[in-house]
């Protein structure tokens, strides 16, 4: 078995395509409406993207997203940044995600990673885990955990890659 895997591993290297790699892997997850969504479609017309992994049971995650939401309008006007909030809630709580998102008035793109496939592909071990991605799909920085004020440091980085002082 191990030998076969090693062989196929090498075969994979041999038969590769030539597409430019973005740092966002291609994994099929769901939108909040239950439709299939390929994560390689995460994009923002060459402007910065914030990708944040969260769950209903994670208090600091919700504090972070609340903090983003408070500034989101200003941030979008200044830099065009787009926020994707990826819920890793499983089927025990997926149907509570949309009511919570609306109840909190969050304006982000919400994605549902119900079996952790995207989480694993992005090497997320703990949440909250937030990525800052530039217009070319490259991960510029990432951070795990949230404490008050972290959104300010993140936004400084967003402004930098958007070319705003």
């Amino acid at each position: 078995m191990k030998k076969i895997v090693v062989f196929l591993f090498l075969a994979a290297i041999g038969m590769s395509g030539f597409a430019q790699q973005s740092d966002i892997p291609s994994v099929t997850i769901k939108t909040i409406k239950g439709q299939n969504f390929n994560t390689s479609d995460i994009s923002n017309d060459g402007k910065p993207i914030i990708l944040s992994f969260w769950a209903l049971w994670c208090k600091p995650c919700q504090k972070e997203l609340d903090a983003f939401n408070e500034h989101y309008e200003t941030w979008q006007q200044e830099t065009g940044v787009k926020i994707y909030a990826v819920s890793i809630d499983d089927s025990r709580s997926t149907s509570r995600v949309l009511p919570l998102v609306n109840g909190k008035g969050w304006e982000f793109e919400i994605l549902m990673d119900v079996n952790g496939d995207f989480k694993r592909a992005m090497n997320v071990n703990m949440i909250p885990h937030t990525f800052l991605i530039d217009g070319n799909g490259k991960i510029v920085s990432q951070h795990t955990s949230y404490f008050d004020g972290a959104e300010l440091e993140l936004y400084e980085k967003v402004k930098k890659i958007a070319g705003i002082k």
């Binding site: 062989f7 299939n36 997320v124 071990n125």
Partner: protein, 563 residues
């Protein structure tokens, strides 16, 4: 053989260079790493003596993950080591090696994975393989997975394989083989005339079968057990409706005392939401639905299906002290949750608005009647019992009413307040005997003071009042953070009011403090945290699976990073 691989590797690399296409341009390597360590010390006051530690002074759980991507190809490996497992993990975890490796090809039309993989059909009722590191749970499949998308909006999946069972290698007849098919159609995408419709419809169906040889000397057991599920997801404007129904043919096992009854599970939810308001109602019925790839095992292993608990998952230590876990042999429950944001500027909303969340859930046993006049309920080798689909037993397993307020008081003060009223049948849910069901009131406040733009102080105060189990608890915590990198926290949980409670056969317990001090440093995705002190006995639950954690005392270290 190794030389041959190396030769192929070199040839492949050089062929790329001939075309002037360095593979470094198209390829990506990434991964992650985590190590959780605990150093134990005896602590007589909370019952940890040298004989409890039994020489295992150190527990270390660690893993390393590496993924290689090149165009449409991916290959990955995960190494794990539990030497020895930290306290509360199953002793069968002890070991090290590569339990997870795979290669995969991924295109818009087809994806193929060979090796180890995770998968879920619908809500997972008849198939869910996943891992949860914090619980030591991993039922990864080893085999082949194919996902085929022949037409827009249509997705077909096929899987077969054997499941991971700690470090035990799969051998002929050592445990079952799992096979499954799933189809899902998003009608709004597939049918052109529906593409602009306000009604969104997604339907799905799946079938899973397990094969396990019948070696039983007494019973004639089904060697192939089939399970079938159908689901629909409807969305119309602000409303959303989802339901899934699963049926499993007779599957006598150690979990159901070897009865020949069919099983089923139903999960439904209806929600309404608009900006500032969300309402969701969920219903569930489960009857004889344990589905494992070895009929002889019990406990959190070799599950093929996953029946989710639907009550709220709590985030604070005392509200999460008695967590619900699904009873696969039978339960009926519902949940209602309302989230509302009182607008800014209103009388109750104040300057910044106020968030309110109200949640109620209850789970009862199902009613069981004898299958016929002469057979007692649950007698092995019989149909077991009869159960009316809509009848609920009087036996309450769990009830939870909670209300939470989320309030920004000023630019520098924020607070969360919560009250919870809980009923918890500890005999059923934690398998203890001679315990009264727990009736508890819990209240908490979580206040954050933002001292400056990057410095904050967070204070948590919680109380639990109950006459049962271990009696009352209070918990206090102060955490100072220099965002985004540093945190320092001290906490104490005090267990009191338990002097008169007699716990089953155990001795009467004394009041006790469970104090901890911790600090951590996070930079990018690297986090290092230390905790020193006492851990109270309890249950850790993530995603519906729970693990008992014994009391412990000592130093914990956790390091995580990725690249």
């Amino acid at each position: 053989m190794k030389q041959l691989y190396f030769l192929v590797f070199v040839l492949v690399l050089s062929s790329f260079n001939v075309f002037g296409q360095g593979i470094s341009d198209q390829s990506r390597i990434n991964g992650s790493f985590q190590i959780d360590g605990q150093f134990y010390r005896p602590d007589d006051a909370i019952g940890i003596t040298d004989s409890v530690i039994a020489g295992r002074k150190v527990g270390l759980n660690g893993f390393g993950n590496i993924t290689y991507t090149l165009g449409s190809f991916t290959a990955g490996l995960r190494y794990e080591a539990y030497l020895s497992p930290i306290s509360g993990f199953d002793p069968a975890q002890e070991g090290n090696g590569f339990p997870f490796m795979y290669v995969a090809y991924n295109s818009e039309l087809i994806s193929v994975t060979a090796g180890n993989f995770y998968e879920q059909f619908g809500n997972g009722l008849i198939l869910r393989s996943y891992e949860e590191w914090t619980l030591g749970y991993d039922n990864a499949l080893s085999g082949i997975k194919v996902v085929y998308r022949p037409y827009k909006g249509i997705s077909l999946k096929g899987i077969y394989g054997s499941q991971r069972y700690y470090w035990e290698k799969f051998e002929r007849n050592s445990r079952g083989i799992v096979r499954g098919l799933d189809a899902e159609i998003d009608l709004n995408e597939t049918v052109n005339s529906l593409s602009g419709s306000n009604l969104r419809v997604i339907v799905g169906a799946s079938a899973v079968s397990k094969y396990q040889r019948d070696g039983d000397p007494l019973y004639h057991l089904p060697e192939n057990v089939g399970a079938f599920a159908g689901r629909i997801n409807l969305g119309a404007g602000k409303f959303n409706f989802m339901t899934e129904y699963a049926h499993k043919i007779n599957d006598p096992s150690a979990m159901n005392n070897f009865i020949y009854k069919n099983g089923h599970a139903m999960l439904s939810s209806l929600s309404y939401s608009q900006k500032g308001l969300g309402v969701v109602l969920q219903l569930k019925r489960v009857d004889n639905m344990s589905f494992k790839s070895d009929r002889g095992v019990s406990g959190n292993v070799l599950d093929i299906g996953f029946v989710p608990p639907i009550n709220r998952t709590h985030s604070y230590s005392l509200t999460a002290r008695y967590p619900y876990a699904t009873q696969p042999n039978g339960e009926m429950g519902f949940q209602l949750q309302v989230n509302y944001k009182i607008p800014k500027g209103s009388l109750l909303g104040g300057k910044y608005g106020t968030g309110i969340a109200v949640n109620f859930s209850q789970v009862n046993d199902i009613e069981r009647n004898p299958a016929n006049d002469t057979t007692p309920v649950y007698k092995s080798g019989t149909m077991g019992y009869k159960s009316d689909f809509i009848k609920v037993s009087d036996h309450v397993f769990f009830r939870d009413f909670n209300i939470e307020l989320d309030k920004k008081l000023s630019n520098s003060w924020k607070a969360v307040f919560q009250y919870m009223n809980q009923y918890f049948d500890i005999e059923t849910l934690q398998g203890k005997t001679n315990y009264e069901p727990i009736k508890a009131h819990i209240a908490l406040a979580d206040v954050t003071w933002r001292m400056s733009s990057m410095r904050s102080l967070r204070m948590e105060l919680q109380g639990m009042w109950t006459q049962q189990d271990k009696g009352n608890w209070t918990a206090a915590m102060v955490e100072f953070a220099i965002s985004p990198r540093w945190f320092f926290a001290i906490a104490d949980q005090y267990n009191f009011g338990n002097e008169k409670i007699s716990l089953g056969n155990e001795k009467i317990i004394k009041p006790n403090h469970y104090y901890t001090g911790s600090f951590g440093y996070t930079r990018e995705a690297t986090r290092l945290a230390f905790t020193f002190g006492r851990q109270a006995e309890g249950v850790i639950c993530v995603g519906g699976v729970c693990r008992q954690v014994p009391a412990s005392s000592g130093l914990s270290i956790s390091l995580t990073t990725n690249f």
